[in-house]
């Protein structure tokens, strides 16, 4: 059976980050974690594609032990199988390390005809790992895709490139990064959530992939993450007649010179 792989990232919800009021250091400890937003669209695109192709859909992630919690969600979203490449050092991994780990697992799966990724991760939005995985595998890559179809062994896609729509084709296997507009990512229903419990979620130690130490050596090091806090006056006009609320707004804007 051919396989389609969707790579996804398990990230803290950006609206639940806490900032230290003095140092502005970002604290993720109280944030819920989620499957990165655009990766959900990629999973749905993968589900549709795999169904058309009679392929097995594998949801693949690279992360530390905490990322195991993501597997229920991606299985509920339609993956047949979830594979988590586990590394205690994933927190300090960069795109170089992540791409080598993901590509090695794609090779280990075998029979993969397409790898899908989201347009960018919710935390880093670096547009990096998809094209890197393609280069490590030696496959062509089609990025920023809003329409996708496979006929025979050929992939047809429409990319959004600046102000242009660029229709392209390439032979499989290939890596594709998709935009949110490739299709909405429905919230899984109860049946899908229950069915997910019966699907396999696998953990693979990164050391078992036979990667050279150089492939697992980050090239860049994150030295700090500093939060941004909007300094706004946050005056709510929620009482009185609509005309009074509007008048209060106009006079406030006039006073501050905004009008």
């Amino acid at each position: 059976m051919p396989r389609a792989v969707v790579c996804y990232k398990w990230v803290p919800a950006e609206n639940e980050l806490r900032l230290d009021p003095v140092t502005r250091a970002v604290d993720t400890s109280s944030a819920r974690w989620k499957v990165s937003d655009y990766d959900r669209n990629a999973i749905e695109a993968g589900r549709v594609l795999a169904a058309e192709r009679g392929a097995e859909l594998v949801a693949l992630t690279f992360g530390d032990a905490g990322a195991k919690a993501s597997q229920k969600d991606v299985l509920a979203r339609g993956a047949d199988r979830a594979v988590h490449v586990v590394s205690a050092a994933a927190g300090s991994a960069d795109g170089h390390v992540t791409a080598h780990a993901l590509a090695a697992q794609v090779r280990a799966l075998g029979d993969v005809e397409v790898v899908l990724c989201g347009e960018g991760a919710a935390d880093t939005y670096a547009h990096e790992v998809g094209p890197r995985v393609a280069e490590v595998l030696g496959w062509p890559v089609v990025t920023n895709v809003r329409e996708l179809a496979v006929q025979g062994e050929r992939l047809h896609a429409v990319r959004v490139v600046g102000g242009d729509l660029e229709a392209v084709e390439c032979d499989l296997p290939a890596v594709v990064t998709v935009l949110a507009e490739v299709g909405p990512a429905p919230i899984p229903g109860l049946k899908a959530v229950i069915a997910a419990g019966r699907k396999p979620g696998e953990q693979v130690a990164v050391d078992a992939l036979g990667l050279a130490p150089d492939a697992l050596a980050p090239r860049t090091v994150v030295t700090r993450v500093t939060g941004y806090a909007a300094e706004r006056s946050r005056v709510l006009l929620d009482a009185g007649e609509p005309a009074e609320r509007v008048a209060a707004l106009v006079s406030a804007l006039t006073e501050t010179g905004a009008l």
Binding site: A99, V136, L165, V168, V221, L253
Partner: protein, 339 residues
Amino acid sequence: MTADTTAMPTDVVHVVAEPHEVAGLVVLALSADPTAAVHVMCLGVPDPATAQALTGCGAMSVVVLAAGAPVPSPGLDRPEDYVPAVAERLAGATPGLVLVPATVSGWEIAARLATRLGCGLVSEATSVRRLPDGGWCAERTLYAGAAVQGLEWHGRAVVSAAAGRGGPGALPPPDAGGAGSGGPVALETVVVDRDTRVRVTSRTSRERDAVDLSAASRVVCVGMGVQTLDDLALVEDLARALGAELACTRPVAEDRGWLPVDRYIGISGASVHPDLYVGVGVSGQVQHTVGIRDARTVVAINTDASAALMGQCDHGLVGDLRELVPLLAGAVRAAGVPS
């Protein structure tokens, strides 16, 4: 990208870009380090005017990579297809910073080059500077603008950065000489093999307004809470009353197609710097609000007092936009606000 001009040994910066993007990136490289030796690899053959301007762009060398056979039809060339040729030339060149434009094509080129060179990538850097120990540090945005990340590395890296407007008009005149690296240089053209695995079958332009939202002093933004075209017309009228540019959030342009895509604000769209931003039915997800953080005054109009934008605005007008927006447009006109 901002500059830090601490005295440092001369650095080598390789600018890899399409003809119209080269000038902006050379300026960026030289503003980060005026003593840098900038070498350009131009992806595709420039038109005569751009070619002439490139001779005086401030780079020490300009190599034009021209497509070998099969030569692509006009308009069907892709800068991405020069990646193998660029990587091969960079592998044999003096290591240094590889600077690529932060565009859709540039993102792909940057990631593929970094992989072929086995080096790090800093995507969409907002600043880059040299460290006293010879290493580098850079900053970039994280969590759709909720945080800034500081990165460090040693040795070679690919950096993508937004060069602003780098069109031929932004180039110094050809006889002005280089800003940092000497006088005019001769363009060297090299015919190279392209990566032909991905083939362009057609290219169409999307509807655009060629609007420059970043220059607007007032912006009225349509969010997904504006649910009908009649409601949209009310918001348009408010924009007219204020003399404001009409903008929107990504799904309003990309999913509904109500406005051209160059009118959406956010991490993957425009950033605005107006005196006044009015968001109507805008929920306020960080992917959008990162694009409005430089607005002087932010007004939110929403039925939902708990919408995220209400917590990040100066004035939150709570209620039905069908009532409030026409009232506001009328009040603005009555006040005789100069637009």
